[in-house]
Amino acid sequence: MIRQHLPALQVILPLLAAPTCLLLRRAGLAWLFATVVGFATFAIAILLLRQVLSQGDIAYAMGGWSAPWGIQYYVDPVSALVLLIVSGISAVVLPYAARSVAQEIPSERRCVFYTLFLLCLAGMLGIAITGDAFNLFVFLEISSLSSYALISMGQDRRALTSSYQYLIMGTIGATFILIGVGLLYVMTGTLNMQDLAQRLPAVATTRTIHTAFAFLVVGLSLKLALFPLHLWLPNAYTFAPSVVTTFLAATATKVALYALLRFVFTIFGAEYAFNTMPLGPTLLLLALLGLFVASAVAIFQENIKRILAYSSVAQIGYMILGISFATVTGVSAGILHLFNHALMKGALFMAVGAIFLRTGSMQLQHLAGIGRRMPWTMAAVVIGGLSLIGVPLTVGFISKWYLIQAALERGWWPVAVLVLIGSLLALVYVWRILEAAYFDAPAKPDAHIKEAPLSLLIPTWALVLANIYFGIDTSLTVGVARQAAGLLLGVQP
């Protein structure tokens, strides 16, 4: 009975839990409730993935209204993987939130915080699960609006302006998406994705559809912070509360990337997007530019969160690069990096949040000698950093390995070389953090800085270990990513 309704529960549970959090009025209770809900959604996501892998795709008619008329939820390996990573990150971040939020957010706002967090989670899960183009826009707005509010809760007053800027840019992006979806609806009379995919070829050559494609791609590129539309991201990540940064860095851009995959491959089809429209070269160019410019910028930053934020922009470049190849290996490398990058950035931002909890600073110069005072936290940063660089036995290596394979498969060996050089840039900015933490003498040797509390260390290390585990046992991630890529490209892997 419940099994049947798992797709609906996946979204409904956090969506209904959000207002309940507000009613609980006590921060501790709200946290406990949100954490339980977070774990429940994670469990549902695992069940859904297992069901999809064993029995094939799940189509769920919302409210019993069947497909073209009602809203359909559709779970295939791509969406199941995104559901897994989003709910998994929330399940790890929520236990971490208790201490971190208690320090960074005033007590009267904490219930609101958890409400917004759950809303944001519900929105992202909704984007990943829905099979309806307009419904996707609605969920995008739910997650975006709640994330603007979450970012604005940061302690630094610049959090407000950066949240405002994100709001303007996000709204433009959302509007573009809405315009795109509207144009599609005008031409085909349907909003269901599969239906759209069937009816589009008949009108594919019209100017309206070209315009719709352009609006959708640009809108989604804005949401996923593709260079040069990433300008909202560094400030938003830097000034948001630690928990929010972790959660958004690990999931928000990934979900937008998922939406791009859906629109480009499922609705428009690879043939249209890459042959009729110039998606391939554009994405390739922007991905490589983003990779290098953002990495170079990260090298010179003085704020550790900002380093990681720019590094995120660079890493998005890797994902987009994989997709721009439009081959099964390339797209699966992109999806793989989507999953893997969530693990590494999640771990890194959590460790950095723990450092902030103890030192109250994010400036590199204030982190001098922190390696001896917070050995476990810094060890997490080291492993996360190695993963970011792409050292073997970490997930980063797996992503790059497949990405380079994809490049060589197409015979684009210069791209493969550029990917490797990009890894060297990552080495430089990770090294700057480690140098400050381990090799610089502390500015105030008598300062009492202790190791982070266990409630922060355990979730952080859970993700760190996941970085290593999925770096060694790749059967789940690579298997699902390949299957998903084959599905998106319409090729049987």
């Binding site: 433009i172 070209h210 352009a214 640009v218 300008l231 170079a296 930053q301 790749t474």
Partner: protein, 565 residues
């Protein structure tokens, strides 16, 4: 069942971890339990086991058991047990942990079913064993250890390069018969050759082993070179060049061993000589020859271990290792002397001692396969072994002129370890079938017939006579403090000197290039900083309006493209 598939190195690595965490008798019990439990576990494995992993689309075989690897598996467990017993009195966590990892890596290497796994353990062998040298904590040991490490890692790098080339040409990483064809095979051959101490590649051994700790050398003598012998037997049996390499290896160290003063260095040279017999047997490649080679490897670990242990005991108690400083110790160390003589008798291949039952196999095979020249070289080498290892070691350490040193017998654990090795030497010598039934190929060979026994006894007696005559007539090279030049002179003297000369010429050019490069790089970085730095155009916070401009431009690109097309 999973138990049979538990790779043999795992208990040792766990043991290393536990040894790092415990102290005192608990550590002793744990460390002894590892080879015992591991050995019993290995006994329960019979037949062919293979464990496979998929990594990045390649099939790795981290654990593969067949008769050849099983023999070395038993051997390494016995050797590890004896060496651990021998080192129980040591209070040095570094040595214990390194020794456990070292023994585990050796097991990992012999049970490796693919070249990549082999490479990993190959490097682990190098990294863990160098700790046993550095643990001596003298400046000589530090230098020798560093040279040792460089050469060992070089061997690993060659192996990796060879393995990758091999993968490209044959499409397989499997560690099976390779044969000496193509660049990949030569790279791998060279890597094995370094670890096996081929002539001119052998100096790391005679350089580093005598510098290790008294107990560390016992471990070192057991594993590294035997892993290489195993690797050769696995990948290059029947390669003709090995016959000649092996024959040279048996002969040339004899001259060095005879004039060398440091008794452990004498043993190191004699080790190369013994490995020569194995390499030669592998090169001949018939069932009898390969059986002889691996059987000799088995025995060599035991008697060479026994000799290194007796010398280790002497070094432990007297702090001296030069033949010229020692002598007359039989009065205060009668038990150690006895054990040393058992080891010496075994290495000299006295009938009823273990060396006899395996060395004669290789020599018979050389005759059978029509290598009379090689047979003569081996014969000469056998006589030489008796000279430098069989007589010289016990004679100069325990007899000769009385040095006046008075010590006690070594600690009980050392005596027990030597006792076990000595008993095994005699046991195998008297009941060779115990060993023969473990050999990779079926054995139809009887060492104790009149030809073998008589020939060997004649050889030994005349050799002893020669020693006695040389000694009495004063012609035997006296034990002196001296530095004997070996091929390492090339890389320790000639190479550095020519390098310095070259550097003197290149320095001005180098300075110029450096300076101009440095200028260019700093210019580049400051340029990067101008654009990418915190206040650079690419990193500063942009006004919302200009962000929107980018959005519009990108949209225009997509829309316009259609019209341009």
């Amino acid at each position: 069942m999973w138990m049979t598939e538990l790779p043999a190195f795992v208990p040792f690595f766990i043991g290393a971890l536990l040894a790092a965490l415990t102290r005192g008798w608990l550590r002793a019990v744990l460390m002894l339990a590892v080879p015992v439990a591991g050995g019993l576990h290995l006994l329960s494995v019979d037949g062919y086991v293979q464990l496979e992993w998929q990594l990045l689309g390649y099939t790795l075989t981290p654990y593969r058991v067949d008769r050849l690897s099983l023999l070395f598996g038993y051997l390494f467990h016995i050797a590890a047990f004896i060496a651990i017993v021998f080192s129980l009195h040591v209070r040095d966590s570094l040595q214990h942990v390194a020794a456990m990892i070292y023994a585990g890596s050796a097991l990992g290497a012999v049970f490796a079913g693919d070249l990549l796994t082999l490479f990993v353990f190959w490097e682990l062998l190098a990294l863990s064993s160098v700790m046993l040298i550095w643990a001596r904590r003298t400046s000589r040991a530090t230098g020798a250890g560093m040279r040792y490490l460089i050469i060992q890692v070089l061997s690993g790098v060659l192996l990796l390069a060879g393995a990758l080339l091999h993968l490209r040409t044959s499409g397989s990483l499997a560690f099976d018969y390779i044969g000496l064809q193509g660049a990949a095979a030569w790279l791998i051959f060279l890597a094995f050759g370094i670890k096996c101490a081929f002539p001119l590649l052998h100096n790391w051994l005679t350089d580093a082993y005598p510098e290790a700790t008294p107990t560390g050398t016992v471990f070192l003598s057991a594993f590294t070179t035997k892993v290489a012998v195993y690797a050769l037997a696995r990948a290059f049996p029947g390669t003709e060049i090995l016959v000649y390499i092996g024959a040279i290896m048996t002969c040339f160290p004899i001259f060095y061993a005879v004039i060398e003063n440091d008794l452990r260095r004498v043993l190191a040279y004699s080790m190369i000589n013994q490995i020569g017999f194995m390499v030669c047997g592998i090169g001949i490649g018939t069932a009898l020859a390969v059986n002889g080679a691996v059987a000799h490897a088995f025995n060599d670990v035991l008697f060479k271990g026994l000799l290194f242990m007796s010398m280790g005991a002497v070094l432990h108690l007297t702090g001296r290792m030069n033949g010229s400083d020692l002598g007359g110790l039989y009065k205060s160390m009668p038990i150690t002397t006895t054990f040393c003589i058992v080891g010496a008798a075994s290495i000299s291949a006295f009938p009823l001692f273990s060396g006899f039952v395996s060395k004669s196999m290789v020599m018979s095979a050389a005759l059978l396969e029509d290598y009379p020249g090689v047979w003569l070289m081996l014969l000469f080498a056998s006589a030489g072994v008796f000279h430098h290892a069989g007589i010289k070691i016990p004679f100069f350490a325990f007899f000769a002129h009385d040095s006046g040193i008075r010590v006690t017998e070594p600690p009980r654990n050392m005596l027990i370890a030597m006792g076990i090795a000595a008993v095994l030497c005699v046991l195998i010598g008297c009941y060779p079938t115990l060993l023969y039934q473990l050999l990779p190929f079926g054995v139809d060979y009887t060492p104790y017939d009149s030809t073998h026994v008589l020939a060997q006894l004649q050889l030994l007696f005349f050799s002893a006579l020669a020693f006695a005559w040389l000694k009495l007539s004063g012609l035997y090279p006296p034990e002196l403090h001296s530095t004997n030049l070996d091929a390492e002179w090339l890389y320790r003297r000639v190479l550095p000197q020519s390098w310095h000369r070259l550097i003197a010429v290149l320095r001005p050019i180098d300075t110029f290039v450096r300076r101009s490069t440095h200028r260019r790089v700093s210019k580049f970085i400051s340029g990067m900083f101008r654009h990418h730095g915190p206040h650079g155009v690419l990193a500063r916070t942009w006004p919302t309006g200009s962000m929107v401009l980018w959005v519009a431009m990108l949209l225009a690109v997509y829309v316009l493209f259609h019209y341009l097309k």
